[in-house]
Amino acid sequence: MTDSKDYRSIDELFKRTFDELPDAPSAGGWDVPSDKVWEHVQTRIQTPKSGWTAQTLALVSAFAVVLLIGLYFLVASGSDKQENKAATETANSTANVSTSTTAAPIAPAVAPVMAPATQTETVALEKAAPRVATTPKAPKKTEPFKSKMQVSQSVAAPEKPAHNEAVNHADAPARPSGALPLPGTKPASPNSTVAKHRASWQKPLHYLPVLRSKPTIPVAPASLRVKTN
């Protein structure tokens, strides 16, 4: 019960009446909320925490497992493809080299064909397995192949009939095919096909990298080796 006479306006009547209420709930219980309110509040503030933990752990675990399995298959299939590709290229290069080696006695005809093929494959293998291609062992293993080519040139040259033996071509550089230049011809310019061809033969050929334990290039027969003093 409030003293209404003290109020100057209806605003003040309401304001003072509600502001001066005691902290304790009223006897009639009109200002006491039901117990369900706290139960609902408690449920709402507790549920997200527990639900978050269990559901999140399950989701994260499932996602991690799926991700790991996917990565495993991805890596496995990638390495299989790489191995198959390298094996195929190795097999092809081995076949080419063995073919050229068996055809070594007919050096003038075989050498120009063999050289580009070998170089192309060397580049391909360098792309496929650069670490193997750039191993420091390569220069040592080029020795037999290089000497074989020199042998093939030196052996094949006399077999080729000289076109004009009367003309002295001692100062002219030897052609890869062993043929002598025609009389009266000028030395080939540095940009000509012949000069490029010659320059390419002057560079040492890289030995094919060994990808497996089995040697891919057979050793040249003893009859073709250069005897060094």
Binding site: M1, T2, S4, K5, Y7, R8, S9, I10, D11, E12, L13, F14, K15, T17, F18, D19, L21, D23, A24, P25, S26, G28, W30, D31, V32, P33, S34, K36, V37, W38, H40, V41, Q42, R44, I45, Q46, K49
Partner: protein, 181 residues
């Protein structure tokens, strides 16, 4: 002492302590229920407001800076929650001079003047249209300005003033004019 208790309650609630949550609710549920009762049309709606308000209190407790009273901070949350409930009601603000749809509610035989306690005044408030009730509560009891009310309710300042005027007119009709200037 009250401030120390508030700090203890806040730190406990922030740690997720259930006894502290329960203690905070017990301490503030009654005064906050009185606040939302003024905005609601009945007790059930007030309980919904109180529930949502306390959920926001526990959820946003980390935003309480401690530079004021915890009770004041919770009260602001309760008022905002009550206004959110009101805004969800379609067309709760009626900017009309036609009082007739609500006039019958004030034809009562209750001796209001001789029974001016909070519960009786609350019953009078519940008979007001929701828009009038909200503006009257915010302006007369909670101390908001018309600009703030307009901002809170998404109405113009003029509408807020007219709603307050009409609310007073309603209330005067049922309260003995001999006690009010």
């Amino acid at each position: 002492m009250q401030q120390a208790n508030d700090q203890e309650l806040v730190s406990g609630v922030l740690k997720g302590s259930q006894p502290h949550q329960s203690a905070l609710y017990r301490q503030y549920s009654v005064p906050m229920f009185r606040v939302v009762l003024r905005f609601a049309r009945d007790k059930a709606e007030a309980e919904d407001m109180l529930q949502d308000g306390f959920i926001r209190v526990f959820r946003d407790m980390n935003q309480f800076r401690g530079d004021g009273a915890l009770g004041g901070w919770i009260r602001r949350i309760m008022v905002n929650t009550a206004l959110s409930h009101l805004r969800k009601q379609k067309d709760f603000i009626r900017d009309t001079a036609d009082f007739s749809p609500y006039e019958h509610k004030f034809r009562t035989d209750e001796d209001v003047a001789s029974n001016m306690d909070a519960e009786s005044l609350l019953k009078l408030l519940h008979r007001l249209p929701p828009g009038y009730r909200a503006v009257f509560n915010l302006y007369a009891i909670d101390g908001f300005s018309h600009e703030e009310i307009a901002d809170q309710l998404g109405i113009t300042v003029g509408t807020s003033k007219s709603q307050l005027f009409k609310a007073r007119e309603f209330l005067k009709k049922i309260i003995d004019k001999s006690y009010i200037l």
